[in-house]
């Protein structure tokens, strides 16, 4: 019988439709991980069914989801409590973590107990793919207060003392459970919809900082309103060696003892990050810094000659349309694009937006906005842009942008008023000078010699015209 009801099933519930919570864990970044799972596999919790291997068995708490997927997968419907009764699995996948396994019909299990239940369903030597949301992740640091969803009936997770908090604590907990972690991935920009997965070790590699920054800043603009753009924070976190600790989520590939021999192929060996466009050889992230990083450093140092050299080299190269944040400058000064090229105007504009919305003390005096700065940047590279080719500024400012805009507009209004007063005074001075000149003119035209002179002048002008 499929779906098989194992107790605790929720009759009027769907995690997959996204109407009662954040929807299933999803995103192409997860595909390589899931493609590589082997053996009898249990997928526990809400995952995008399109990503799942066809022979996996699903554990879903909502009957609506279970019935919808029953013609494609074997489905167990209910809570995790009864799992241990069946034969253990070769692989257990729980990329959503443990927080959405339990049913509203059952008491909310502490994380520790849910973890033990899941682990009990894994055979010795089996593989666990476990996702964890980081409650101190950048996605939460920049989030505005939100309303609880239908699935938050006991929203205890962040205060659950048994739930390991922080990357080191999670790793220690997995070790303590007899698991050997073969790989740790960090997930950005959200644990439920990761756009990129990177190996945690890569984030600590100083030589690969540019690559990591490019990947993280390419993870897409925030979908919801935020306090500040998390991509800029992510780049700062990389710089400070904190990116793994502040990642929105982690995914662990862990093996229950006895651990497999290192030569055995394991899920996770195909690195998700390697699926990004523009990547080079598998797993071999290039070294270098992003052009955006180099440009910002030169701008903040006020090294205008260096800035001009960088801009001119970029804009005269075939990569002129690749955004600076997605263009690596290798140690031997080569350009290595990590994203497809758009127009040069759009690439310069993206950098102008990054400069102005990043809150940098940049060197340009009173730019009227990103479009204005875009033209100046092009001019620094020796080119003049057609203003019509500059794209419009993307909407969705962060709260920080709104406050900065308010302060800037207040300042600009005061400056515009000061200029207005100056122009008024200048016009008054010029009016006075004009009146005096006219008076002198009138005075001269009443005297005989002056009249004769004027008559000659008029006659000359007429002759020239005809």
């Amino acid at each position: 019988m499929n779906p098989r009801l194992i107790g605790g099933e929720m009759l009027l519930w769907s995690d997959l439709d996204g109407a009662h919570g954040p929807g299933p864990v999803r995103g192409d970044a997860l595909a390589p991980l899931l493609d590589a799972v082997t053996g009898r596999t249990l997928v526990a919790g809400p995952h995008d069914p399109e990503l799942l291997p066809g022979d996996a068995t699903l554990l879903l708490r909502g009957l609506v989801d279970a019935e919808r997927l029953a013609d494609r997968f074997p489905v167990l419907c209910g809570g995790p409590g009864k799992l241990a009764a069946g034969p253990p699995w070769d692989t257990v996948v729980a990329l959503d973590g443990l927080d959405r396994l339990g049913s509203a019909e059952d008491p909310q299990l502490p994380w520790n107990e849910a973890f033990e239940q899941l682990l009990a369903a894994l055979r010795p030597g089996g593989t666990l793919l476990l996702g964890m949301e980081n409650f101190l992740g950048l996605h939460r640091l920049v989030a505005l207060p939100g309303a609880p969803s239908d699935s938050d009936w006991t929203p205890v997770a962040a205060y659950d003392e048994t739930r390991p908090a922080g990357l080191a604590a999670v790793r220690a907990r997995l070790h303590a459970a007899g698991l050997t972690i073969s790989r740790t991935y960090v997930a950005f920009p959200s644990p439920v919809t990761p756009a990129v997965l990177l190996e945690a070790d890569l984030l600590a590699d100083r030589d690969r900082r540019g690559y990591v920054e490019a990947v993280l800043s390419g993870a897409g603009a925030p979908v919801d309103d935020v306090l500040t753009d998390p991509r800029r924070l992510a780049i700062d976190a990389v710089r400070h060696g904190m990116a793994a600790d502040l990642a929105p989520g982690w995914i662990f590939v862990a093996h229950k003892s006895p651990a497999p021999a290192p030569s055995d192929a394991q899920p996770g060996d195909t690195r998700p990050a390697d699926t990004r466009p523009g990547d080079n050889a598998a797993g071999d992230a290039p070294s270098g810094r992003t052009l955006e990083d180099l440009l910002l450093c030169a701008a903040i140092e006020r090294d205008l000659p260096a800035l001009r050299t960088l801009l001119a080299a970029w804009q005269s190269s075939p990569e002129a349309g690749v955004p600076a944040g997605q263009l690596l400058v290798t140690p031997d000064r080569r350009h290595l694009p990590l994203a497809p090229a758009g127009t040069p105007e759009a690439a310069l504009h993206a950098f102008a937006v990054a400069v102005l919305s990043g809150g940098f003390a940049h060197p340009w005096p009173a730019p009227a906005g990103p479009a204005d700065l875009t033209r100046t940047l092009a001019a620094m590279a020796g080119a003049e842009l057609d203003p019509a080719a500059i794209p419009a500024q993307p909407p969705r400012p962060s709260l920080r942008d709104l406050l900065a805009d308010r302060d800037r507009l207040t300042r600009e209004l005061a400056q515009a008023r000061a200029r207005h007063d100056f122009y008024e005074r200048t016009i008054a001075d010029r009016d006075l000078a004009l009146r005096q000149a006219r008076q002198i003119n009138a005075l001269l035209s009443t005297t005989k010699p002056a009249r004769a002179l004027l008559a000659t002048a008029r006659w000359t002008v007429r002759r020239i015209r005809h």
């Binding site: 080119a383 515009a416 200029r419 007063d421």
Partner: protein, 273 residues
């Protein structure tokens, strides 16, 4: 914006560099530093409208201006440096010294002993001396005669202009032609002319009684501070490499803008299109 932007034909030189007709330069969107300056780059008597860009010669002046509260600043370099970019040194033979006695500006008077200064110049300079006077002093027959009687050639580069009247687009061209005739440039105070001459290939020297300017402002430390801060440019003979490095930096000659950028910064792009 400000009439001082047209002093010495500065805006005319920049217009030529930008590919615009040099005879009638458009308004500059900002205040252009018009002389070497130990303060924030603006003349003390300038009316300043908040939010208007301040276009400075050097990175050092920009840092100082920032510390004094100026924010909308940009280093463009001195118009003199652009003139030299446009007119490379033809390498003609040079002789003697062009000497700039310290002058006051309009409405100021210099107190000091011209006779003693003349003796010192005669004793120091190895070749023929050309004395270049500010237009006020050039018109003062007594001052002029004293230098002539000392056997010096006496010249004046011209009137810098003011309030958009009597502008002199060729001022700097004449100054450059004169300086390139001379092997040395000297003054009793470190001033724009010394920087200009040194960038134009003269050996700079600053010596002699710096004299006193009536009601001279000591806000930025005056002569004592100048000697402390720029010792490499003071003395009858200076170490040339160090002097040249300072001069290049103070005139921003190491960071001139491409014409397209300068047109943007000056607000001339619409005019050029």
């Amino acid at each position: 914006m400000h009439h001082a932007n047209h002093y010495y034909g500065h805006s005319h030189v920049l217009a030529r560099y930008c590919g615009l007709p040099g005879a009638d330069p458009p308004r500059i969107r900002g205040y252009l530093q018009h002389g070497w300056n130990i303060g924030d780059g603006l003349a003390a008597d300038h009316e300043f409208v908040d939010g208007t860009p301040v276009l400075l010669w050097s990175e050092r002046t920009r840092r100082r201006a920032w510390s004094l509260g100026r924010r909308e600043t940009y280093v463009v370099g001195a118009p003199w440096a652009y003139l030299l970019e446009m007119q490379p040194d033809p390498g003609a033979e040079r002789e003697g010294t062009i000497w700039y006695p310290f002058h006051g500006w309009e409405g100021q008077h210099v107190l000091g002993d011209h006779g003693r200064l003349i003796d010192q110049i005669t004793a120091t300079e190895p070749g023929p001396v050309t004395v270049c006077l500010y237009w006020q002093e050039f018109r003062d027959q007594a001052v002029r005669r004293r230098y002539l009687e000392a056997g010096f050639r006496v010249i004046c580069h011209g009137y810098r202009g003011g309030q958009w009247q009597d502008l002199d687009p060729q001022f700097l061209d004449r100054q450059l032609a004169e300086q390139r005739r001379h092997r040395r440039v000297a003054s009793n105070r470190l001033c724009s002319a010394i920087f200009y001459g040194a960038l134009a290939g003269c050996e700079p020297a600053v010596y002699g009684d710096p004299m006193t300017l009536e009601n001279e402002s000591m806000t930025y430390g005056g002569q004592a501070r100048i000697r402390r801060q720029w010792p490499e440019l003071h003395g009858e003979q200076v170490e040339l490499a160090a002097a040249r490095a300072t001069v290049t930096a103070e005139l921003g000659a190491d960071r001139l803008l491409p014409a397209a950028e300068l047109r943007r910064v000056l607000g001339w792009q619409a005019v050029a299109r």
